[in-house]
Symmetry: C2
Subunit: 385 residues, 2 copies
């Protein structure tokens, strides 16, 4: 297996983009990523998208993306694993480059969510959970994460204020990210007085509905300096795992087994541990998710994730900055694009190009992308080449 | 890269299966495939499904399938490329085994289409075309293939009777396949007096709406005799390509560029040509599609596909039997499952286990799976190990 480099990254602006169809978002992100390279054609395309059918009436995005980029002919596939679709598309492209199946691969994460109404969006997002058992009985995503939050508070004494701290921190970071959906500093009081969505989760505990795309260009590390224009970043580790689709089938509501397993695989492959990570992008679809994920990744002991964020360790300038991009919470969460955008942030940081939100001399970055309530997860570790 | 073997194949019964949810279909097919092996766990799962969201309200099928098979934890992804989703899932699994990323991979193709009404099914299938330009302006899939048929008849003198011959042949074959949706011998008169759907295509020119699943177990050829219980079948070649998503962007309505490119890649990798193929499963979503695909695969010259089927060369006992399984036309077309089921048929034939529809001593089989009107295609070539 060959070592793999990321030589180009790009993002469209994220937000409520009624003027741009889905395919335009993808092209905008890809053209930015290609502009960072000397590459003008690719050999393989991997699209991450959760539900083009329900949100945009368009499946077969592999063909749409290849066509609209002027790459018709090139092999293209779409990968889906709910909100981990972007991470799964990255894994597929990584495998092809590592194995020597292709020499230049493109990864595109995309989702256009704001063209449907609220009820339709809730239904579409519910297809990431167990439709026949959870959603049929009335569960929604905030409801499922609300149950996890209640249990975490009961078991470990996690507090309302600790949940708020995740939102306050990530919105502070998002303020420094030009592509983020929201540029709004928020206060503890604002989080705690926002509308109750699913007890204990309030509106400002939830990531938003977003339109957006993100893209990566991959090649073997051996050709990265020839094909790229920027400082080298390489893939150190990648882990992927599943868990039961439904929350009611889990042994423990407070643990994310897919994240734990994916992280163990990624750390092993990379030959590093939680203490070696300079910064992490994690899947904060709800504030409780970031707390639980930091535990599953080993940044804190089980039950100590609330204390970790409260300590400031995961804030900018802390021991292990988490979600410097603003995270799903402030940057936005176009579900299929999220996993790819996490890697865009890591590459930007590892190159030292993150501007006002730059972490000081990062060496190793970790991205954790998750489907549903943790029914699937991908953990990727990148490092300075 | 390692050589890859298919050691287990399975299909659920196909048809209008209101008593079985989507996940049950997948499990039925997988359990049959695993029963042909000595394997009781897998290292990777690749699901092919076109639009679980629109047909069944369920995305995140990677997690659903892993969970319901008792394989929660195992890395699982879903691949989509419209009606070529099954073929794309097979390609993803093949790449992982060939590259040494995993040693036992499972491929599952699945779709449950009959739980929605006719209008909803037409809309869902339209997401394989260009929704914003073709479907928005009123095109449906029979309409798009109807235009291709009209042009093919105009350019090459392809006849109504030649279209009918595809349907008559494939229904005759399907009569011999216990898993097929339809077991009905049909006549030329019945095809030609069936309801007009999109001129010149009539009801019996169209593949049906189907529920069904199919599964494959892959491993390196070097361990196939240890892990399998059946005669060895290996992957010789695999080609994948895209074309423009919309028909109006093509230079030539009578050529399927994605199929031609994918076939050229597969033949090159396998070191064989059209004359070496013992039998083929091709994507006869409409009768005209089989005629055009046989040309794109090089079984006939451009424009001669109608004459090929009329000559009997593609019938059982002919020079190159096509769609011995009954094809999409008679076996059924659960869109995400089709590409996997084509490979199930090839393996069954290459092992000499096809019973009443057995081709005499086949050595090399080809499967051609296609998305939309040819916006993507996968061509796979299998051989006796």
């Amino acid at each position: 297996m060959r070592e793999v480099a990321v030589i180009g990254v790009g993002m469209s602006k994220w937000g409520e983009l009624w003027h741009q169809p889905l395919r335009d978002l993808a092209c905008e992100a890809v053209l930015k990523a290609l502009a960072q390279t000397k590459v003008d054609k690719v050999e393989s395309i991997h699209v991450g998208c959760m539900t083009g059918g329900l949100f945009a009436g368009q499946e077969h995005l592999a063909s749409v993306v290849a066509d609209y980029l002027g790459f018709a002919g090139v092999p293209a596939s779409r990968s889906e694993s709910a909100c981990a679709s972007g991470g799964v598309a990255f894994k597929a492209a990584y495998a092809e480059v590592a194995a020597g199946i292709c020499d230049v691969a493109l990864v595109v994460g995309m989702e256009k969510m704001t063209d449907v109404g609220g009820d339709e969006a809730t239904y579409a997002l519910g297809t990431a959970a167990d439709q026949e058992y959870e959603c049929y009985n009335g569960a929604t995503f905030p409801g499922l994460y609300g149950m996890m939050a209640v249990r975490h508070m009961h078991e470990f004494g996690t507090t309302r204020r600790q949940l708020s701290q995740v939102a306050v921190k990530n919105h502070a970071n998002g303020l420094l990210n030009p592509e983020a959906q929201y540029h709004a500093k928020i206060t503890f009081d604002e989080v705690e007085s926002s509308a109750l969505v699913a007890d204990p989760l309030r509106l400002l505990d939830c990531s938003p509905i977003t339109d957006g795309a993100a893209a990566l260009v991959l090649c073997p590390l051996s050709t990265a300096s020839k094909l790229g224009k920027k400082a080298g970043v390489k893939v150190l580790g990648l882990g992927h795992a599943t868990d039961t689709i439904a929350l009611h089938s889990r042994k423990d509501l407070c643990r994310l087994a897919a994240v734990e397993t994916a992280a163990a695989r990624a750390y092993k492959m990379a030959g590093v541990g939680p203490k070696d990570i300079s910064l992490a992008e994690v899947h904060d679809c709800f504030t409780i998710a970031e707390i639980m994920v930091t535990e599953a990744l080993g940044f804190a002991e089980l039950g100590e994730g609330g204390k970790l964020v409260a300590s400031g360790a995961t804030a900018m300038g802390g021991r292990i900055p988490v979600n410097t991009s603003g995270g799903l919470k402030s940057k936005g969460h176009p579900v299929g694009a999220t996993g790819v955008a996490q890697l865009v942030e890591l590459v930007t940081q590892l190159r030292g190009e993150a501007g006002a939100r730059q972490v000081k001399k990062p060496r190793v970055g970790l991205a954790q992308n998750m489907g549903g309530t943790g029914g699937s997860s991908i953990v990727s570790i990148l490092g300075v080449a």
